[in-house]
């Protein structure tokens, strides 16, 4: 089976669109579906799937972009660490562009600081081995998908006795922000597209409790157009019969239990902690941090960070509302004017997985 082209088969996609419209014909209003993951937001915009189900499905973009939800305070910490003498600061991709209170990692790199965007987190370990006279700091970000990789690097570094690699852990988990969103009375969601990569790790069983708690169906979906359309069809059918089941459309990668070994490895080194989400505020047990016995590799504790008050996010920026699914990017006064990918104000425009970046890139003129 061709894992790309078969899932972009136009006949299948059009047939699914027809079925979705037929099923939705008896609904009194369009069904509101939140895609939790930024990857889905991008697929929906990139393949313009909204056009195929126009009038019957309203896609709402959720909080699942690890860059978008990063608060300014954590970016300020990153910038402070990256500015220190003798440091090689490593992180992933889009984090470089996110503006902090005073600067960004990209600007600091331009000033000559050694800041590297890694293609694979394992490179942090390689860089530490190659530069024994430098302190290498890995700014770890991401949901359950990328957390196991951080745990693997920690394990390898400890096993190999690498002494100059430190971790700034910013990992977050999916269920907590969903609870925060569903607690908001302005939110009107009929069903969720469950994340693909996160689910590979956590397993489909992880959502059963949430579906029952929210009384909303969840369809774990792959990123390809056929995946999304098949999942939407399932959500409409469940909505019509008022069922709150977890449908695993992404069976080719997601099992009921998930990756047990990965989860165990994460639990060995990290524990739940409070995390401040951009736009959502502090949520208990929504993030992960290193356990106390690993204080010697915890960058936040090893390097004394200034406790400077982070600059408040721009007043006109509605990233918070977008992350809660209350507003859409074109409704923001800054969108495509003061806020563009080249000069982002809010995090949703910075990250390639952000809802604003997706709208800007694929639908700006049509917005």
């Amino acid at each position: 089976m061709d894992l790309i082209n078969d899932y972009r088969n136009s006949e299948l996609i059009l047939a699914l669109a027809k079925q979705i419209k037929a099923e939705a014909a008896t609904l009194s209003r369009p069904i509101n579906i939140m895609e939790i993951c930024g990857g889905h937001t991008h697929s929906i915009m990139k393949f313009a799937l909204g056009e195929l189900v126009e009038g019957v499905v309203n896609f709402i973009h959720g909080p699942g972009c690890p860059v978008c939800i990063m608060p300014v305070s954590r970016i300020d910490e990153a910038c402070e660490l990256a500015s220190m003498q003798g440091v090689i600061f490593c992180t992933l991709a889009d984090m470089l562009r996110v503006p902090g209170s005073h600067t960004s990692l990209l600007k600091l790199r331009g000033l000559g600081h050694d800041i590297r965007a890694l293609y694979t987190p394992l490179d942090a370990l390689k860089i530490a081995r190659q530069n024994p006279d430098k302190n290498v700091i890995f700014f770890a970000i991401g949901f359950e998908t990328t957390t196991p990789m951080s745990a693997v690097i920690i394990q390898k570094a400890l096993d190999e006795g690498v002494k100059n690699l430190y971790f700034h852990i910013n990992h977050v988990t999916v269920p907590a922000p969903l609870r925060a969103i569903m607690a908001d009375k302005n939110v009107n969601i009929d069903g969720f597209l469950g994340p693909s990569h996160v689910s590979v790790i956590v397993g489909s069983n992880a959502y059963k409790e949430l579906a029952l708690e929210f009384k909303r169906p969840i369809a774990i979906s792959g990123f390809e157009p056929v995946d999304v359309m098949a999942s939407v069809l399932n959500l409409i059918r469940q909505h019509k019969r008022a069922s709150f089941e977890v449908f695993n459309e992404y069976k080719r990668a997601v099992s009921a239990q998930g990756n047990v070994k990965a989860k165990e490895l994460v639990a060995k080194y990290m524990r739940p902690c409070t995390f401040e989400w951009r736009g959502l505020g502090e949520i208990d047990d929504s993030g992960l941090c290193l356990k106390d016995e690993y204080v010697s590799i915890d960058a936040r504790r090893v390097f004394a960070l200034q406790k400077e008050q982070a600059t408040k996010e721009a007043k006109a920026c509605i990233c918070g509302q977008i992350l809660r699914g209350v507003s859409k990017p074109p409704e923001c006064a800054l969108f495509a004017k003061a806020c563009t990918p080249n000069s982002p104000v809010g995090a949703c425009m910075v990250s390639s997985e952000g809802a604003c970046a997706a709208y800007y890139k694929y639908q700006r003129r049509g917005a």
Partner: protein, 318 residues
Amino acid sequence: MEALINSVIFEAFSEVGGEILKQANDSAILNLSSPLAFSTDSFVVSPLFFAGGDIGKIAACGTINDLAMVGARAKYLSCALILEEGLLLGTLKAVLASLASECAKAGVKVVCGDTKVLPRGKCDSMFINTSGVAEVLCEGVGVQSLKDGAKLLLSGDIGRHGAVVLSAREEFEISADLKSDCKSLLGVVMALIEAGVKPLCMRDATRGGLSAVLNELSRASGLGVVVREADIAISDEVLGICEIFGFEPFELANEGTFVLAVSPDDEQKALEVLRKFNPFAAYIGELSVRRSGVILQSRYGTQRFLEPPKGELLPRIC
């Protein structure tokens, strides 16, 4: 330095301009009788050698192709080298041999140049600048000739060069079948002109890829561009790499693929010529006064904008 210039650089170009180079005058004296095209480009590639090419081949083809894109046949090239102290002589010789070989194939002479050596750490092993002068064989080729209804053709599949360089840089294991498209476009452009095709505009899709070129054509002409995704060839290897990193193949660099705009009358003839050089050449869309920006039509009828690439390509997080 003198020994390097005499024994390595002059020697490398002995068959392609050596007689003029060896005069070692402050300037080369050239014979040209037709209108001239003149272009320059600097080449910075890491790694220096990659599947399907190297910095020398790109330095020759890049400028030859820029000149070919305005319907001109390159005659003379300059070659300026900025070398990092410690660069292996064998590496330099291999790069120069590759540059000379491409010039020989295109009938181009290297007639002047410059060499600087910088301390280690001040440049990334080697940079090359080439400038070229060319005889204009077909006048009026350029964005000023674009018009409503012009047909857009693409000379081959896209994204190969960007995918190869990215894979080599990140030590990513790739299929042996994937090679850069780096090559001279002079032959195919000459064939188009000889077949009687009158190109309205041509542009090679280098940095920024097809997406950048289509947006440039749209902006320069004030016309909309509509292209069909199904007609744009992308190899499975390139598509796979893009999926892994979260890149768009439309934004990846090419080094031997170009977009050709022609009048509807020339479309079939042009396509036949292009296909003789590359079976993946295709008619991909048209310019339209009724639309704005660059619109990509999916296989199932939906449409979205193809925005110009923004800054450096960074991979997605998950």
